[in-house]
Amino acid sequence: MIEIALIIGFACFSLALVLNLYRLAKGPGIADRVLALDTMVINGIAILILYGMWEGTAVYFEAALLFAMVGFISTVAYCKFILRGDIIE
């Protein structure tokens, strides 16, 4: 049962990744692209967690945790750059 759920989960998030790439390439604005990247990171986290469940190990948990914790900082930095140009002022 859980395997089917995992496969469906994989399928959804993988599709999401591809759609993110489409948005990244298409744009049109830089903000859209930053958002695409941010969403991509979130999808990546999801895939990591699913993969850990699939393999039955907790080793990947830290990577997911770190992604979640610091991944958004790049997004913040991009946004601050777009807003102000200077990210540490």
Partner: protein, 959 residues
């Protein structure tokens, strides 16, 4: 031991003058003199052994693996030279004290002098030709400093450069020659090489080795065609000229010829190269010296001539000629150093060294006149002075040796050289001291203070004594030194003034008479000189140097003109060529490994990665966008690491990505947001082709490797990780334990890099760049809210959580994925968040950590952990671990590697923060003072429109 000390003393003592100059010029000179005196006394304490025929050895293994040992030995030749270097050095130190003016930095001078002295003593005492090469180069470098001592004189700098270029080039040739010599002999130890004369002369490599070594000797000893640097080096202060160019440096080449005489001499090659060069240089330089109006120029060319005389004597290859050569080394050093010093005195007292402006100094400077006259007469070879004895011996050898079947050629040339020599020596007396007294000297000449004429006076004593009683005064020294030169085959000879009325005496007296006549007809002789073409050596040298520089520039620019595209194209093109050559000339077979199954999600991630790369290529001119897509690539690479079972790498990659993005955004702020289009279609096609081929090649190689089974070291590490390093996370154990020394080096490099960023930016912010920064106008519209409240609140909440995660990752690093490096990055990011949210000024005031110190502490902590192993009597960085049991926490393990990891952690935090904080300083220069508030909005104030962000700009600021 005493030998090593003699060599080391001047080097160690070189620290003294710089300190002692604070105690005044006398203190400085005394300290320098004391160092040299001590070395001299040590040398003299070995004299009984040397005169008893012993060879004193001191051996110390340095790098035995490459045959480089700090071995020293003292025989007669080494004793003679070391005595000259230290003895005359002592006189020069005294002389320089009075010669240098108050404006000259005396401490510097004596430091250079001692460095030079140490290098020279090293050359003459060392027993290892590799060590000799080191000292040889040291003399080139230290003499460069000495010749260019008067930095304000362009002639001084040019002369120093020329001397360094010529002698340095010779030194390079000599390195090759010495290596060949060592290979033939099977050892780099001189004492061994000296025993292998037969084998070396019989070797087919003898001629190349001989020519290369002679290149070194001839450049150093200023033999034709390399003689031109010595006169230009006369721009140095006179003590330097007297020391380097009479007694020591230029004699290094002579010394080496004497030292290797038993090995290299005695063949036709040796005779025709060395003797011919020597004789030709002797005549030519003597002729030029005759017409030099500069006193030091005259002496410089006369030095070239006399060095050539010694070269000629060694070149003859007979033991008796070698004895004469050794004897002339002593004689020349004494009278030439004295002459240089008198030239310096005349320059010092009259204000000029131009012979045309001098004359009639006899009554004004009687003491100087006496010293100079005796020395010059000796140089001319007048009987009862020491120069006469060796000139006789030289003429005798020249008259009785035939050259290519012509019996009279060498003799005739030697007599001609002697005539010129007499003429310029007499000129030094006649045109300077004799003649009517003049009243147009630049200064009022008078004899110098006692301390200044004492050194040349001391040197005149041996000139006269050896001249009168050669066998008694110089006999024993010449005997032991010549014994060493001839390798124990000392011929039957006796040093005496009177050898009977013979051809030699006749030609010697004829030379004196004809020399005097030539001086009388100096004007006519000069007319003859001016009528023949005279190549200007300096111009030729400069043309050669300029040509070489232009050639090198052409070659470098052709490969690498500063354009990254060109550089990459050359590099990748070369790789492709090399790879293709290898690929097309070998057989190929597919790897035998079975391909693994590819799940669809992996395929998808791979497709996204490719898609992101293609997108970068399309949008690469929009820099911000490129940066965003690079983020995608980084994320996918991190996922790839996880997928391929490398969680440590994944954690590192994730944190490095963030730091990279912040770093690049900080830089991008001041850079154009668009890359200009600057390559045409043709070039883009070329670059695309190269990139495609290169990528295919690398992919092919990786495919070939991964489809084959290969042995790896991983299994060993996996097996040893727990028993050897006490941790189950093999990556971390490798980093902090197995390869801890590498990591130690790497964190030092990391710290240096961060400090270099600080230094560079600090320099830039204090330089002209500040003006540009102040007038810099942001090239994009800016939102008004600098510190959005949401971000501020979120980062505050995140800070303790992030620090907790950092600590967690650090602590578990030894057994599970994590470790000091990742933890350092995580903590640095946690700090950076605060800087980004509330601004640099606000965060800086609340952050009580000095990041520079943090780097230092990190490196120290790691270093001390390594040193700790010494206390346990084990090598640096040997780790240890123990299992500890605590009531509540249960079993856990303490490893010294943990302390090392703390060092890594601190260095990483410090380096990241120093680098990024300093980059952000650039932006702060462009703006005015910033408020101390954590955010622009004050949440306690109520009411509409209080500085809320104007979101209208956000959509427009697209790259």
């Amino acid at each position: 031991m005493a030998l090593t000390l003699i060599v080391l003393l001047p080097f160690v003592g070189a620290l003294l003058p710089g300190l002692m100059i604070r105690a005044g010029r006398n203190g400085c000179a005394l300290a320098t003199g004391a160092v040299t005196l001590l070395a001299f006394v040590l040398l003299m304490s070995q004299a009984p052994a040397v005169f008893a025929g012993e060879v004193v050895h001191a051996r110390w293994e340095w790098l035995p693996a490459i045959g480089l040992d700090a071995n020293f030995f003292l025989d007669g030749l080494g004793f003679l030279f070391a005595g000259l270097i230290l003895g005359i050095g002592l006189l020069i130190i005294t002389y320089a004290r009075f010669y240098l003016s108050r404006n000259d930095p005396m401490g510097q001078f004596y430091t250079y002098l001692l460095l030079f002295q140490g290098a020279m003593v090293g050359i003459v005492l060392c027993d290892n030709i590799l060590l000799l090469l080191i000292f040889w180069e040291l003399t080139s470098l230290s003499s460069f400093l000495l010749i260019g001592y008067w930095k304000h004189l362009p002639e001084g700098r040019q002369g120093a450069r020329m001397a360094l270029a010529v002698t340095g080039m010779g030194g390079l040739a000599m390195i090759a020659g010495m290596l060949i010599l060592g290979e033939i002999a099977g050892s780099y130890d001189l004492s061994t090489i000296l025993q292998e004369g037969e084998a070396i002369r019989a070797s087919q490599w003898y001629v190349p080795a001989l020519i290369l070594i002679l290149l070194g000797c001839f450049t150093k000893s200023a033999q034709f065609p390399f003689h031109f640097w010595l006169p230009h080096a006369m721009a140095a202060p006179t003590p330097v000229s007297a020391y380097l160019h009479s007694a020591t440096m230029v004699k290094a080449g002579i010394f080496l010829m004497a030292r290797l005489w038993p090995v290299l001499a005695g063949t036709d090659w040796w005779f025709y190269i060395v003797a011919t060069t020597g004789l030709f240089t002797m005549v030519m330089a003597a002729w030029i010296a005759l017409f030099k109006d500069d006193l030091k120029g005259l002496l410089a060319f006369s030095t070239v001539s006399h060095l050539a005389l010694i070269t000629f004597l060694f070149g003859l290859g007979t033991p008796i000629a070698a004895v004469a050569g050794v004897f002339h080394i002593i004689n020349h050093a004494s009278f030439k150093a004295a002459l240089f010093m008198t030239a310096g005195i005349i320059d010092h007292e009259t204000g000029t060294r131009d012979i045309k402006k001098l004359g009639g100094l006899m009554v004004l400077m009687p003491i100087t006149m006496t010293i100079a006259t005796l020395a010059a007469l000796s140089m001319a070879g007048v009987p009862l002075l020491n120069g006469f004895l060796t000139k006789e011996m030289m003429l005798h050898e020249a008259l009785h040796t035939e050259w290519a079947g012509v019996p009279w050629l060498l003799g005739a040339a030697a007599v001609v050289g002697a005539i010129f020599s007499v003429a310029y020596s007499f000129r030094y007396i006649a045109h300077v001291f004799l003649g009517p007294k003049r009243d147009d000297y630049p200064h009022h000449p008078h004899d110098p203070p006692f301390g200044m004429y004492l050194p040349p006076l001391i040197l005149i004593v041996p000139v006269v004594l050896i001249g009168l009683f050669p066998a008694a005064v110089a006999g024993p020294l010449v005997a032991v030194a010549a014994d060493a030169v001839t390798g124990g085959n000392l011929p039957d000879y006796h040093l005496a003034i009177w050898h009977g009325f013979n051809l030699t005496l006749v030609s010697s007296l004829a030379a004196l008479a004809l020399g005097a006549f030539l001086l009388w007809r100096h004007r006519q002789a000069n007319a003859v000189r001016l009528s023949v073409p005279r190549p200007e050596a300096k111009r030729i040298f400069e043309t050669l140097v300029d040509g070489a520089a232009a050639g090198a520039r052409l070659f470098t620019d052709g490969l690498h003109n500063g354009s990254l595209r060109r550089y990459l194209a050359v590099m990748i093109g070369a790789c492709i060529l090399a790879g293709a050559t290898a690929f097309l000339n070998a057989s190929h077979a597919p790897g035998g490994r079975e391909l693994t199954h590819v799940p669809i999600i992996t395929l998808l991630a791979w497709a996204v990665l490719i898609g992101a790369c293609v997108t970068i290529v399309i949008f690469h001119r929009q820099r911000l966008l490129t940066l965003v897509i690079v983020g995608v690539v980084g994320m996918l690479v991190s996922l790839g690491f996880v997928y391929l079972s490398a969680p440590d790498l994944a954690l590192t990659q994730i944190s490095v990505e963030v730091v990279t993005v912040i770093l690049l955004l900080l830089a991008l702020n001041f850079l154009p947001k668009q890359t200009p289009r600057d390559s045409g279609t043709g070039r883009r096609l070329r670059d695309g082709l190269l990139a495609g081929l290169g990528g295919l090649g690398v992919g092919g190689i990786i495919y070939a490797v991964m489809t084959r089974d290969f042995t790896t070291i991983s299994d060993f590490h996996l097996a040893q990780s727990k028993p050897g390093g006490g941790g189950t996370n093999v990556v971390n154990v490798i980093l902090v334990d197995f390869r801890g020394f590498d990591t130690f080096g790497e964190i030092i490099v990391l710290g240096i890099a961060a400090l270099a960023i600080y230094a560079l930016l600090d320099g830039a912010l204090n330089g002209p760049a500040v003006k540009r920064l102040r007038s810099w106008v942001p090239d994009q519209e800016r939102a008004r809210d600098r510190h959005p409240m949401m971000l501020v609140v979120a980062t505050r909440v995140m800070l303790p959580l992030s620090l907790m995660v950092g600590l967690f990752i650090f602590l578990r690093g030894h057994n599970e994925p994590g470790g000091g490096f990742i933890a350092g990055l995580v903590v640095a990011i946690a700090f950076l968040m605060q800087y980004m949210a509330s601004g640099f000024g606000w965060a800086e005031r609340r952050m009580k950590i000095d990041y520079h110190l943090l780097i230092g502490w990190g490196v120290l902590a790691a270093g001390f952990t390594g040193v700790g192993a010494w206390i346990a009597g084990r090598p640096f960085l040997t780790s240890d671990f123990a299992h500890v049991h605590l009531p509540v926490f249960g079993d856990f393990e303490l490893a010294t590697a943990m302390a090392f990891d703390v060092g890594v952690f601190l260095t990483v935090v410090g380096s990241v923060m120093v680098a990024l904080a300093n980059l952000s300083r650039l932006a702060r220069v462009t703006e005015g003072p910033i408020s101390d508030d954590p955010m622009d909005v004050d949440p306690q104030r109520r009411g509409p429109g209080t500085g809320m962000p104007d979101a209208a700009h956000t959509g427009k600021a697209e790259g």
